[in-house]
């Protein structure tokens, strides 16, 4: 035999998963949500999603080039960042601002730290935090869902020239859908004490960011990822559980002032954040205890910001805070090593053999 012999060290078989595969399935899981968003908000939302995603991909490629790496576009992670970021923005967000958000997400949230796996904060949320600080008006300017003419044209703000202030939307929005107030359910609860009903949320007929309204769809897509083991189900469970318990506690203290837990779960970006952002692998803990602490922390902080902060929405900062704490959480929740703690008690106790048949115990 004159064959070449390969030499490798064990293990010689692998499970066959890869980063690309995981990320690709996350993209797949995000597509229904993006599609629902386009159906809800029309061409403006479509243009925004495409622009932000392209900005992220462009940014990723640029930084690959600058750092002399091979292209990492094929790992799908920049696509995820783009889709997620677009889904957290108001549907009529000016496209140039969306492009800024996308670029900032990759530049400040990912490339600065060294690319995939090394980022400390969720890049999509870094991008959103950036534009929230830079364009405070545009990011709280909402448009109505299911406006009749949504596939006939774009919202006036969508094609704002770069570096220009977008025009005022309220007149257009009112004409697009009668009785549109331009406030999210969270803002209406906070400032007018008006509660949206679960029916409003389930039908998607609420004012919100592009991808936040379809709680059921988000849960379904999340369930798909969890079932295929591309996502850690414990994190969304902990986030939603933490938020619901905190809300329940406050409601028991003062039912007149605080809304019920269901409202807290369904409103704003909590669902999208819990299922798709808090679960970002690179920025969440890896230890079994750590993921529960991390998730619960995000849930509790979200509710705290909503109830007591100046902002109406707190998911973004709660997750960013959780991301920042993740390494510390990992550090203090290292798993118990096999045979470690029990070492002494086992030695003292030892195992007693079962008495033999016929022998007195």
């Amino acid at each position: 035999m004159t064959t070449r012999i390969e030499l490798r060290t064990s293990p010689h078989v692998v499970k066959g998963t890869s980063v690309e595969r995981i990320m690709f399935h996350v993209v797949l899981a995000l597509l229904p949500i993006a599609t629902f968003s386009v159906w809800q908000y029309g061409l403006s939302a479509l243009a925004l999603i495409v622009t932000v995603t392209l900005a992220c991909l462009g940014g990723e490629r640029l930084f690959n080039h600058l750092s002399g790496q091979q292209s990492t576009l094929s790992d799908w992670s920049a696509t995820i960042t783009g889709l997620l970021l677009a889904l957290t923005l108001p549907p009529a967000f000016p496209l140039w601002m969306g492009a800024v958000a996308g670029f900032a997400a990759i530049a400040l949230g990912k490339a600065l730290f060294g690319g995939i796996g090394y980022n400390v904060l969720n890049p999509a949320l870094v991008g959103r935090a950036f534009v929230q600080a830079a364009f405070p008006v545009a990011i709280t300017t909402w448009v109505p869902a299911f406006a009749p003419g949504r596939f006939g044209g774009f919202a006036p703000t969508t094609f704002t020239a770069p570096l220009m202030t977008p025009p005022d939307l309220s007149a257009w929005a009112k004409s697009a859908l009668d009785g549109f107030t331009g406030a999210t359910p969270l803002a209406r609860w906070k400032f007018d004490n008006v509660l949206a009903t679960p029916q409003d949320f389930l039908s998607g007929a609420v004012t919100a960011s592009a991808g936040e309204t379809s709680a059921i769809l988000i849960l379904l897509c999340g369930a798909y990822l969890a079932a295929r083991k591309f996502m850690d189900w414990r994190i969304p469970a902990a986030v939603l559980g933490g938020a619901a318990l905190t809300a329940l506690l406050f409601q028991m203290l003062d039912p007149a002032r605080y809304p019920d837990p269901l409202f807290v779960l369904l409103s704003g970006g909590l669902m999208l954040g819990a299922v798709f952002m808090a679960t970002d692998m690179a920025t969440s803990p890896v230890t079994p205890v750590g993921v529960w602490i991390y998730g619960a922390l995000i849930g509790v902080v979200t509710v705290m910001i909503r109830y007591f902060g100046g902002l109406t929405e707190g998911v973004m900062y709660a997750i960013l805070l959780g991301n920042a704490l993740a390494p510390l959480i990992d550090q203090v929740t290292q798993p118990r090593v096999f045979g470690e703690v029990k070492a002494k008690s086992v030695k003292a106790k030892s195992v007693r053999a079962k008495p033999l048949k016929g022998e007195k115990a």
Partner: protein
């Protein structure tokens, strides 16, 4: 306090589920013919090399000792066939370095009868005599580690052993040699168990078998009843199929529900673990007073044409084994293969076809080009936590891998329990970034060992 038996799992935490690939389990063990030339390394076990008793040109008969044990942690070597000693010289070993080996030219016309035997009544033997007889037989652990069997059974006088755990898990994919031994030689296994129990003074023995081998469980149960050990002293128990169920500490946890203290041995909680293959062979050798001259090897893998379990004479060169089992030549032109001694999770790839089958070789796997060519593109760790969910020892391979990348080996040992890693390979198996985690840990452990001495 055992008030919640309902929640008590009879297995260890974490672990992985690789494809079993045990296609050879269905057919009986066959005998491999004698090679024309055998190579017998003087060190086929953990411990000191054996000392040759023969010289070049000397004629030997099958079963005759060729080398004697050098001290306690050493075992003798017996002639696997009638023949003449050609030389005692350096030959390539599986691990790479060339080692002192006895080269035996086999007499082709010989009947190859074992004529070197010393039949005796094993029931009349005292524990110390049993241990001596085991050492004289040259037996080592056949699971792969090749630790001298008598040394494993020799427990210090102050240590009380209550249970002998018999390891019939065979959790490595592809391997079926233990499975076949359990099916075909259950009575030898019982003899071996009785001997081992007597040697360590254990009052009971539990045979743990993975639940993908229920036919072996049934065969053992029948044998237990047949030899009259069914009074509770010897029991067989099925454990969930999960890698690495066959690791000593994992199996003890699965069967007894107790964790062996970190850094300790099963002995420290009154348990001795032995492999079924080892005990079955002991059970057939000791009553006859023979030495170990052959073992069962699973020869399989996508690159093998006649996969199966074979009785292979020790010292048979890999080339002969592969020739006999038939290497798949379909893509000879591509010609890249991986030849692995042992299972695919922990086995050792060999570089030379002149490497012989030694006492610790449980399987020979041949992967062809298709199998080895999967492109394992390396990504940075994305902290998915899969390795943490897989590590049976409860370590944090993600963190250890990061530290290894920064060469902070002391930190790995001091704070992240590197020393508890037994290199099962689960972390590398699951890693989506294809980071060679266990390989890095091996290097790190080697470096730390080097610094310690």
């Amino acid at each position: 306090m055992n008030f919640l038996p309902f929640f008590k799992q009879n297995t260890f935490a974490r672990g992985v589920h690789p494809d079993a690939q045990k296609s050879t389990a269905g057919s009986p063990i066959r005998r491999m013919p004698f090679a024309s030339r055998m190579i017998l390394p003087l060190v086929q076990h953990i411990g000191k090399p054996a000392v040759p008793l023969v010289r070049a040109g000397e004629e030997v008969v099958r079963g005759q000792p060729l080398a004697r044990a050098d001290g306690f942690l050493s075992v003798p070597i017996h002639a696997p066939a009638d023949g003449v000693i050609e030389a005692i010289e350096l030959k390539p070993s599986a691990r790479g370095p060339w080692v002192e080996s006895i080269v035996l030219r086999v007499y082709e016309g010989s009947t190859q009868e074992v004529r070197w035997a010393n039949p005796r009544d094993i029931d009349a033997m005292a524990p110390a005599e049993i241990l001596q007889a085991i050492q004289d037989s040259g037996m080592v652990g056949l699971g792969g580690a090749a630790f001298p069997s008598h040394a494993k059974l020799a427990v210090p006088a102050e240590t009380k052993i209550h249970t002998l755990v018999v390891n019939g898990c065979e959790c490595e994919p592809y391997l079926t040699c233990d499975h076949r031994l359990m099916l075909e030689y259950p009575e030898d296994l019982m003899t071996g168990i009785r001997l081992a129990m007597k040697a360590v003074g254990a009052e009971r023995a539990i045979i743990g078998v993975e639940d993908n081998k229920m036919d072996a469980v049934a065969a053992i149960q029948a044998a237990i009843e047949k030899v009259g050990l069914a009074d509770g002293r010897v029991t067989v128990q099925a454990v969930p199929t999960k890698y690495p169920q066959g690791a000593e500490k994992m199996l003890v946890k699965s069967l007894l529900g107790v964790e062996v203290p970190a850094g300790g041995l099963p002995m420290h909680i009154g348990v001795v673990v032995n492999n079924v293959g080892t005990l079955a062979l002991l059970g057939s050798l000791l009553p006859e007073g023979c030495g170990m001259t052959e073992r069962v090897v699973t020869v399989t893998g996508p690159g093998i044409r006649k996969p199966g379990d074979y009785w292979v004479p020790l010292g048979t060169p890999m080339r002969t084994v592969l020739k006999w089992a038939g290497v798949n030549n379909a893509n000879e032109d591509a010609g890249e293969r991986e030849i692995i001694l042992g299972g695919p999770m922990m086995g050792q790839a060999v570089a030379s076809l002149d490497v012989p089958v030694t006492k610790g070789v449980s399987g020979i796997l041949v992967f062809d080009k298709l199998r080895i060519e999967d492109d394992r593109k390396l990504w940075p760790c994305i902290k998915c936590g899969e390795c943490v969910k897989a590590c049976p020892m409860g370590l944090n391979p993600s963190m250890l891998g990061m530290l290894a990348g920064r060469r902070e080996y002391e930190e790995m040992g001091a704070h992240y329990h590197l020393g508890d890693c037994f290199e099962c390979g689960c972390c590398t198996y699951v890693c989506p970034s294809h980071i060679p985690l266990v390989q890095q840990f091996r290097v790190a452990k080697g470096i730390l060992r080097g610094k310690a001495t």
